[in-house]
């Protein structure tokens, strides 16, 4: 049996601060021993004139966005959002000292206030829609005359090649499926539009997903939104499956990332 030899670090890793989000609070706060890194570091606030960064102590090591680390990051944000409107920080933001954090808040103070006001009382919901492609295809084959005829032709033909007819059929079905997916997506959006503040379409994951969207909702309209999702889900039961999650911090609508200044001028472009 081999034994793992744990190597003690040659020199202690220096300590720093991990930042989760920015909130508005006049009072110092603690959110419990749930800091990233698994040491049970306390999550607390570093404040500047009514704004605060929610942080915990951490050794200055690079955090890979593994499931565990991302979970720790998100769990803090979800805890904080129960009481505050949060502006989430991009994953992995490490700072040397509290003073550094205060200075960065000072530097973007007005913009932070603006965005906080915009996000006040709003939460995010995620909506992923998967479809049963085979079922929808079957339905299209019955509904679409052109497809049905071609299919009959292919199956009834006893001699000769069906190669080109089959290609033609494949093309028709592909187009019909794309149109059908677009129609579903349009209908879902329009059904949810007037109970939400904003939406964002993300790229579907995997080949069963036709829609992967985030919606920004007023907290006090949550029940309404919920109701609408249920309506549309029951309408397409069996064909579409809805995966509905939240409330989340508004990850898809605002986040704060860090830009490195290189020397005097900044070289990095600011992506929108």
């Amino acid at each position: 049996m081999s034994r793992e030899v744990e190597q003690p670090p040659l020199e202690p890793v220096p300590e720093g601060k991990y930042v989760y989000c920015i909130i508005e609070t006049a009072e110092p706060r603690s959110f419990g021993p749930m800091g990233i890194g698994g040491r049970g570091d306390d999550v607390y606030t570093v404040r500047h004139k009514g704004l605060a960064a929610v942080v915990s102590n951490t050794p200055l090591v690079v955090y890979d966005p593994t499931r565990e680390n991302v979970f720790a990051h998100e769990q803090v944000n979800e805890t904080v959002m129960r009481e505050f409107t949060v502006l989430p920080m991009a994953f992995g933001a490490l700072f040397k000292t509290e003073d550094d954090i205060v200075e960065l808040i000072r530097g973007t103070y007005d913009a932070l206030r603006d965005v906080l006001a915009k996000m006040e009382g709003k939460v995010e919901f995620g909506l992923k829609v998967n479809w049963d492609r085979d079922k929808v295809t079957l339905e299209l084959e019955e509904k679409d005359d052109e497809i049905r005829h071609l299919k009959e032709q292919i199956t009834s033909r006893t001699t000769g090649s069906t190669y080109f007819a089959r290609m033609q059929l494949g093309r028709l079905i592909e187009t019909a499926l794309t149109d059908q997916a677009d129609a579903y997506i349009r209908e879902i959006y329009s059904h949810l539009r007037d109970v939400s503040v904003a939406s964002r379409a993300n790229k579907p994951i995997g080949d069963r997903m036709i829609m992967n969207a985030a919606f920004l909702i007023e907290r006090d309209r949550e029940a309404e939104f919920d109701q609408r999702v249920k309506e549309i889900a029951s309408k397409y039961e069996g064909k579409l499956s809805f995966k509905y999650t939240g409330p989340w911090p508004p990850y898809n609508f605002v986040h704060i990332r860090l830009k490195l200044e290189r020397g005097e001028g900044t070289t990095e472009a600011v992506a929108s």
């Binding site: 502006l87 200075e103 960065l104 605002v254 200044e261």
Partner: protein, 105 residues
């Protein structure tokens, strides 16, 4: 069977498209981390759907992160500091999404 069917049914000009996609993917895989990020998402999705075991998941996740890190290193080999200070960095606030104002739009 499914794959073969799909290929047989693919339109002729679809073949060119597929070749183009493969080329594009090969290019991207070298220079771009989005593909790996998508693979990570898909992996997590498959885990959630119980299509793969915990062990498989962790193995594959570690592999993908190693590749991601290699890309990051290449992109940021000049960046010896991942720890931010008031002198090195500033906040950038990014907002996104389509606002639902009024009808249509």
């Amino acid at each position: 069977m499914f794959l073969i069917d799909d290929l047989l049914l693919a339109p002729v000009n679809g073949f060119k498209f597929i070749l183009g996609q493969i080329q594009k993917m090969a290019d991207q895989e070298l220079n771009d981390d989005t593909i790996i990020k998508e693979q990570l998402l898909e992996l997590q999705m498959r885990k959630e759907l119980d299509e793969i075991s915990d062990e498989e998941f962790q193995e594959r996740e570690a592999e993908l992160f190693a590749r991601l890190r290699a890309i990051k290193m290449r992109q940021l080999d000049l960046m010896h500091e991942v720890v931010h200070t008031k002198d090195s960095s500033s906040f950038v606030i990014e907002v996104g999404g389509d606002e639902h104002t009024g009808q249509g739009g």
